[in-house]
């Protein structure tokens, strides 16, 4: 083996890429690659379990997380082929207990995350932390909503709850459990005999890797998500099964699902604005260095995955990790770099947005209540949504800045001309929909001043949570008592009525923003916004 990448065989190149996980004191990952019809690489790295002492092998079963989603879409389409399900019908056709919003999101909109319904996982996590949700609790969350994130088709917000509803519709229409339907209709016909929908980390499956959460000090703890999951992310598979699946996915003729079904699976939807989304039915279609890829990633507590295919080059990649912190999506792109070097466009230098201080600041969305942050670090412009960590912006056309957040639509941000060296407002274009956001004061008010009239107890029926705002020793805090647990947030005033919050738990640092509504100085209601949940209303008790 040589260190010169040009003289390495592809297998040597891949071995080098994954060498850092080739060790027996840490969990790792499994990798499968097929190229032009031949499986050229299948290897396990690291330990399948720090408990058992078994190593990862190509036969090790791993969770693929959200890479499950397109299987769920296909399952729904198989029922549509039989005339049992209409994926352009409203979801209430199948789950009438859901609240009546107008219009009702269609199954297809839930599949491409444009349905606009709030997600039970986000609602539960923000109020109860990572807590067990009993069976039935997920639907209860979806049913108790009085409002939604947006009208169907307006925007895209990744929504696991939508896929939970799709699973329920599949069960009701087919009369089979989601797990049994996938087994009978997809896994067995395709010979994916090691693949199962496995809905709980508390149930034991032979040959499955232990999930490992990496801690900052280099140690690992067991990854357990104590919530039963279905079509949003429950599949367990092997690299051999997944390579068989990807080959079938990009085949001209499909053994499972008709040609029209598969055309729909890979059709880019359009938002109401007419802008096209690259998120199809549980699958993303994107260009990388001039070639088109189809892919979907997954993440669970203590595990990650990326499935990617380059149909034009018959290159199929599956990476599944039984630990956090491996970046399978980035690794899949590096495999493309190694194997398709000759066919790829040059790596375009990533132009990051650089701009003076004019645009830096906090802005408040007039329509959405969202808190937008623009910050400059090392001369690079970053974008933050509802107090999230800043994400780098790239320079777009006409002095605009662009950002693509996985699982969301594209953002384009335009700053208006500065007055006295500061932009007074920005225009945020999201999914082809614009809103103006006014600059908030650069100097936030004193905490005590902003807390005046805010402290007290509130009820948030959509979250099924009680909220208590307190000011103790100068610290403003929001405590949410949810259905299944409790969370506490530190609140920092950004203006008198806008607050940036961060969960007071280093293991689960959830960001949020709050917009307060005052009557006569007293806050009578406020809204919480998170990355995946919008204008969640709390009313003073």
């Amino acid at each position: 083996m040589t260190d010169d990448p040009k003289q390495q065989t592809p297998a040597e190149g891949l071995d080098a890429l994954f060498a850092k996980w080739n060790r027996m004191d840490e969990p790792g990952l499994v990798v499968g690659v097929a190229h032009r019809g031949a499986v050229i690489y299948r290897r396990g790295f690291g330990m399948a379990s720090l408990e058992s002492g078994l190593v990862n092998t190509p036969k090790t079963r791993m969770r693929i997380g959200s890479t499950t989603k397109h299987f769920t879409c296909l399952a729904a389409l198989l029922l549509a082929e039989e005339g049992k399900l209409d994926i352009d019908a409203g979801i209430r056709t199948y789950i009438p207990e859901l609240p009546a919003f107008d219009p009702d999101p269609t199954l297809r909109q839930l599949m491409n995350h444009t349905g606009g319904l709030r997600c039970f996982i986000d609602l539960a996590m923000y109020s109860s932390g990572i807590s067990a949700i009993p069976d039935g609790g997920a639907l209860d969350f979806m049913v108790r909503q009085h409002d939604r994130n947006f009208a169907p088709g307006d925007e895209m917000i990744y929504c696991n709850g939508g896929y939970f509803l799709l699973s329920l519709a599949i069960e009701r229409v087919s009369g089979l459990s989601f797990e049994a339907f996938l087994k009978e209709r997809i896994f067995l016909p395709l010979g994916m005999t090691d693949t199962v929908a496995h809905s709980s980390d508390l149930e034991l499956l032979s040959g499955m890797a232990t999930l490992h959460n990496a801690a900052a000090d280099g140690s690992f703890t067991r990854g357990i998500f104590p919530v039963r999951i279905k079509g949003e992310g429950s599949i367990v598979s092997t690299i051999d099964d997944m390579l068989g699946w990807i080959r079938h996915l990009r085949a001209a003729d499909h053994r499972v699902g008709g040609a029209e079904t598969w055309r729909q699976m890979l059709t880019r939807p359009r938002y109401n604005s007419g802008t096209e989304s690259n998120y199809c039915l549980g699958l993303s279609r994107e260009f990388y260095r001039g070639i088109e890829t189809i892919h979907h990633a997954g993440g669970v507590m203590g595990g990650q995955s990326q499935m990617l295919t380059v149909p034009d080059h018959e290159l199929d990649i599956i990476i599944m990790a039984n630990r956090s912190g491996t970046d399978p999506s980035g690794l899949a792109l590096k495999i493309i770099d190694i194997l398709l070097a000759d066919a790829l466009d040059p790596l375009s230098a990533k132009v990051e947005g650089t701009v003076g201080e004019a645009v830096a600041g906090r802005y408040h969305g007039a329509r959405s209540h969202l808190l937008y942050g623009l910050s400059v670090t090392d001369g690079k412009l970053g974008f933050s949504l509802s107090n999230s960590p800043a994400m780098p912006l790239t320079a777009g056309a006409d002095g605009a800045f662009a950002l693509s957040i996985p699982g969301m639509g594209d953002f384009v941000i335009r700053a208006n001309d500065p007055v006295e060296g500061k932009s007074r407002s920005i225009v945020v274009d999201y999914c082809g929909r614009q809103e103006a956001a006014e600059r908030l004061p650069d100097e936030p008010p004193e905490t005590a001043a902003a807390a005046d009239g805010f402290v007290g107890r509130y009820d948030g029926p959509d979250q099924g949570a009680g909220a208590t705002v307190t000011l103790v020793d100068g610290h403003l805090r929001l405590a949410l008592q949810g259905q299944y647990g409790r969370t506490v947030y530190k609140l920092m005033p950004v203006s008198r009525d806008v607050f940036a919050g961060m969960a007071d738990d280093p293991l689960l640092p959830l960001p949020l923003s709050i917009t307060a509504h005052r009557t006569g100085g007293q806050v009578d209601l406020f809204w919480i916004d998170t990355g995946r949940t919008r204008h969640l209303q709390f009313t003073r008790l």
């Binding site: 408990e51 058992s52 109860s128 807590s131 034991l204 040959g207 067991r222």
Partner: protein, 547 residues
């Protein structure tokens, strides 16, 4: 092999455990030493349904509550160093605890006579308990189960407080203290404290609970457990430990410390119980045994030694179904190996059902609900027709006859109950005298026919708060069913309330995977319930007040 040829011990032990010698289900590990020699060390079944690895003598297993006497010894080691006084109040070391007179000493927490309520018991179904949550739960108590020293009630929370005292007195973590002061000096190199099931321990068996849908689910407790049950060990290490425990000269712990470890508890009224410091001393077929069992989600353990015969037994399981019962199987090993020195087995006489005694009995002053029931505990045929004793709505636990028409009931980790039926009227016993730890109370028969739910539910629906549990209860009445939903820190438990009278209810958790049991007493004013008293086997007099 023929039946009249005596089996060698190994063959006999193999036969005892043969039913778990299979490769498709979890099982157990067994170690036996006799007269200074390890004569048996074997694993049976799968260490993990997930990995497919087999149980071996090297498999690490959770010993659960068998941890407790290690925690007691750790306190005594610090006492030898002059850093801890085990007869001082626990508030000397954990001053944030509420001042509830009399304050329990560390020794009383060790023998479960401290009387503090146990946050673990109160939190069942309400979510995970970190050590901090457990302490917070202790700190908020305004009442106790009983005054310190008066009786015995098994308390995991007491051992968590001891763990905290050990950490504060030693300046070390509990796990580190045990490793440095006990495990390493004795060469127990595979033994450690792993306080949550989130920790990954190389070589540990997976814990298995039977799934109602068939197969197994992971036994998983996300809460923290240190001195109450955090130790992971192997049969080899536990045999080392047992040999040391019963030795005449100890390498860890002074002889004075070990004398205290094995001193039986004397309650305030002078009665003596079998529980020592995290260890029990009992006589079995004429031989003295020292033992302690353990149980957790998906596993169980029994450690037993017969010091006079130098017989040491450790059995640890990674399942709880399929007939595993380490305490009974340890006794079966004693039967096999000490056949020649044992007294004839005392026939285990379970009291036949006596129809006139059957019924529920209640003490209004203490809200204690007792019962004499048919003890067909698990629907097994041979359990039918036997009299069982119930407290706080538990199923009937078989009783044995004692002198003068009384009955006894004794479970591991409890003192003995003596139940003496009073006079009968119309062919029904009207009262029971209940004696526990030397103190008495009289329970009066409740009517055999309960009131209609609608009658019993009158004035009951509404919301209540319990400070000591930090939980809100919502009582509803619909479709002839009274439900009590208890919502605490991070979860909730629904109980079905079954009336016995309009004032006394049996409370049964509705989750079949967590069949919690309690009794409830209602106090009304002007027809509306104002106070609910909630009692369980290990928690007494929890007061819910109407909001």
């Amino acid at each position: 092999m023929t039946e009249d040829q005596p089996q060698d011990p190994v063959t006999a032990l193999d036969a005892l455990f043969a039913r778990w010698n299979r490769s498709d289900e979890p099982g157990l590990v067994v170690g036996v030493a006799h007269r200074g020699k390890v004569i048996y060390r074997r694993g049976f079944g799968l260490a993990s349904f997930e990995s497919g690895l087999a149980n071996t003598p090297k498999t690490r297993m959770r010993i659960a509550s068998t941890t407790k006497h290690f925690a007691a010894l750790a306190c005594l080691l610090l006492a030898e160093d002059g850093k801890l006084d085990i007869d001082a109040s626990i508030r000397t070391y954990v001053p944030e605890l509420p001042a509830l007179e009399p304050e329990p000493t560390l020794r009383q927490l060790m023998n479960h006579t401290g009387g503090y309520r146990c946050p673990t018991d109160m939190s069942f179904g309400l979510g995970e308990m970190t050590s901090q949550d457990s302490l917070d739960g202790m700190v908020r108590q305004t009442g106790v189960n009983f005054p310190a020293g008066e009786q015995m009630m098994y308390s995991n929370g007491g051992y968590e407080l001891l763990s905290l005292a050990i950490e504060r007195a030693s300046g070390q973590g509990f796990a580190q203290f045990l490793a440095e002061r006990i495990f390493q000096p004795l060469g127990m190199l595979d033994t450690l404290v792993a306080s949550t099931d989130r920790e990954l321990v190389p070589g540990i068996a997976t814990l298995h609970l039977p799934s109602p849908a068939g197969g197994f689910v992971r036994g998983y407790l996300s809460g923290e457990s240190r001195g109450s049950g955090g130790i992971v060990s192997t049969v080899d290490d536990m045999l080392i430990w047992l040999a040391h425990l019963r030795s005449a000269k100890h390498r860890v712990g002074s002889e004075a410390s070990w004398a205290q470890m094995l001193t039986m508890t004397r309650y305030a009224n002078g009665t003596v119980g079998t529980y020592c410091l995290g260890l029990e001393r009992e006589t079995y077929r004429g031989v003295q045994t020292v033992h302690h069992a353990g149980g957790l989600m998906g596993g169980a353990c029994q450690m037993l030694t017969v010091p006079a015969e130098a017989l040491d037994i450790i059995i640890i399981t990674n399942r709880v179904d399929g007939g595993v019962n380490p305490s009974a199987q340890a006794e079966a090993i004693v039967d096999l190996l000490l056949a020649e020195v044992l007294a004839p087995p005392e026939p285990k006489i379970e009291q036949d059902t006596i129809a006139r005694h059957l019924g529920r009995y209640y003490v209004a002053r203490t809200h204690m609900l007792y019962g004499l029931l048919d003890s067909n505990l698990f629907g097994v045929p041979d359990g039918a027709g036997k009299l069982g004793f119930s407290l706080c709505n538990t199923p009937g636990i078989p009783v044995y006859p004692m002198a003068d028409g009384a009955f006894g009931m004794k479970l591991s980790g409890m003192a003995q109950y003596v139940i003496r039926p009073g006079a009968a009227k119309d062919g029904k016993t009207q009262s029971l005298d209940i004696q526990y730890c030397g103190s008495h109370e009289t329970a009066l028969r409740l009517p055999d026919t309960p009131p209609e739910p609608a009658v019993a539910a009158a004035g009951l629906p509404g919301r209540y708060y319990c400070n000591d549990m930090d939980a809100t209860a919502t009582v509803t009445f619909a479709q002839d069913e009274i439900l009590m939903d208890v919502r605490g820190g991070s979860g909730h438990v629904a109980y079905r309330l079954n009336p016995l009278t309009a004032e006394v209810f049996r409370a049964n958790g509705t989750d079949p995977m967590l069949p919690l049991i309690a009794s409830l007493a209602v106090e009304r004013a002007n027809g509306e319930a104002q106070t609910l008293w909630f009692d369980t086997g290990r928690t007494r007099h929890l007061r819910f007040t109407r909001l």
